[in-house]
């Protein structure tokens, strides 16, 4: 049981978190645009997340908070 919280407006859509997720649960939301004009990262299946925080470790902009 884990929960990811995204500070969406800080996301620059670099996608490093997407690649870092061992379970491939993240994606860049192509249909959304944040304040900075990027497609922000989001989690596709929260229930499958184990809270390993790999995504948060890779994120250069401290977008992701992880609870477990």
């Amino acid at each position: 049981m884990a929960k990811l919280t995204f500070k969406t407006d800080f996301c620059k859509g670099c996608g490093l978190c997407v690649d870092a997720c061992p379970k491939k649960l993240l994606r860049l939301a192509n249909e959304k645009i944040n304040k900075k004009g990027h497609h922000p990262a989001e989690i596709t299946d929260q229930s499958a997340c184990v809270g390993c925080a790999s995504c948060a470790l890779m994120c250069p902009d401290c977008v992701i908070q992880v609870e477990r």
């Binding site: 620059k12 670099c14 250069p60 477990r68």
Partner: protein, 253 residues
């Protein structure tokens, strides 16, 4: 549920100006995490360089100084010596800043074993000015000022800073790390923490070289840039500990 990962307190809650996928953000966070974990924010004074991380003085919540290009180690020397007991001093410098215009300041701070922590971000290019050749640009690397690829016959070879400084008697600790994977980020943080702990313990000059990426000026995606580190940077700049006086002394016992 408990929070297992969040923005460190020593990193300001404001967006950073770095390009998407730039690893400066990761390195900033690691420094801030270490400051938090060691409980030294209130006595830490950071020195920002000239280059992409020039505005680091906005991103750390400790007291900060913005240096002239390359002069951070000299300024750090002054700050540290003004109150050695109560100041924890770090510089955060890029390759142009530390290994080109500021090489003299770097080498002499190391030779003096100045009790400071140096975070050296090596991404083999001048990012802020738009992608010119750096002292650490690889042979053959195409940049704005080496448009046909860096030709060692014309402009010499890139400088391996850790290897060079390791020949000095002075410095306490020199390690090269990278941040291109989760595992490497964990190792990088350990090195940065050690570099700060050494200062707290009065051991002297500790430098962590972080092999980093520049997706924008390398002209690739952030993902491809991280792979380029593995394929091109690490073979020229091998990771590892280049000097650890305390460990060497203990091994000799």
């Amino acid at each position: 549920m408990a929070v297992v990962f969040q923005k460190p307190k020593a990193l300001a809650d404001i967006p950073m100006h770095y390009c998407p996928g730039c690893t400066h953000g990761i390195i900033h966070r690691l420094v801030a995490e270490v400051i938090d974990e060691l409980g030294i924010e209130g006595k830490t004074i950071g020195i920002a360089p000239v280059g992409c991380s020039v505005m680091a003085y906005n991103y750390f919540t400790c007291d900060m100084i913005e240096a002239a290009h390359g002069r951070a180690p000299a300024i750090a020397t002054g700050v540290k010596r003004s109150d050695p007991e109560n100041h924890i001093v770090f510089t955060y410098q890029g390759d142009g800043d530390l290994a080109s215009i500021g090489m003299a300041e770097t080498v002499h701070a190391a030779a003096r074993n100045e009790n400071i922590t140096v975070i050296f971000v090596n991404n083999a290019i001048y990012g802020m000015t738009g992608g010119q050749m750096a002292p650490t640009s690889l042979p053959g690397q195409i940049t704005q000022t080496s448009p046909y690829g860096r030709d060692p016959k014309l402009c010499g070879y890139p400088i391996r800073v850790c290897e060079m400084l390791s020949q000095l008697e002075g410095p306490e600790y020199l390690e090269r790390v990278t941040v291109n994977s989760v595992a490497n980020i964990r190792k990088a943080k350990k090195a940065i923490k050690k570099a700060f702990q050494n200062q707290i313990d009065g051991k002297g000059f500790s430098l962590v070289e972080v092999v980093s990426s520049c997706p924008t000026n390398w002209g690739m995606t952030p993902q491809a840039a991280l792979k380029w580190i593995d394929d091109n940077m690490i073979p020229y700049y091998p990771l590892g500990v280049y000097k650890d006086r305390t460990a060497e002394q203990e091994a000799a016992k």
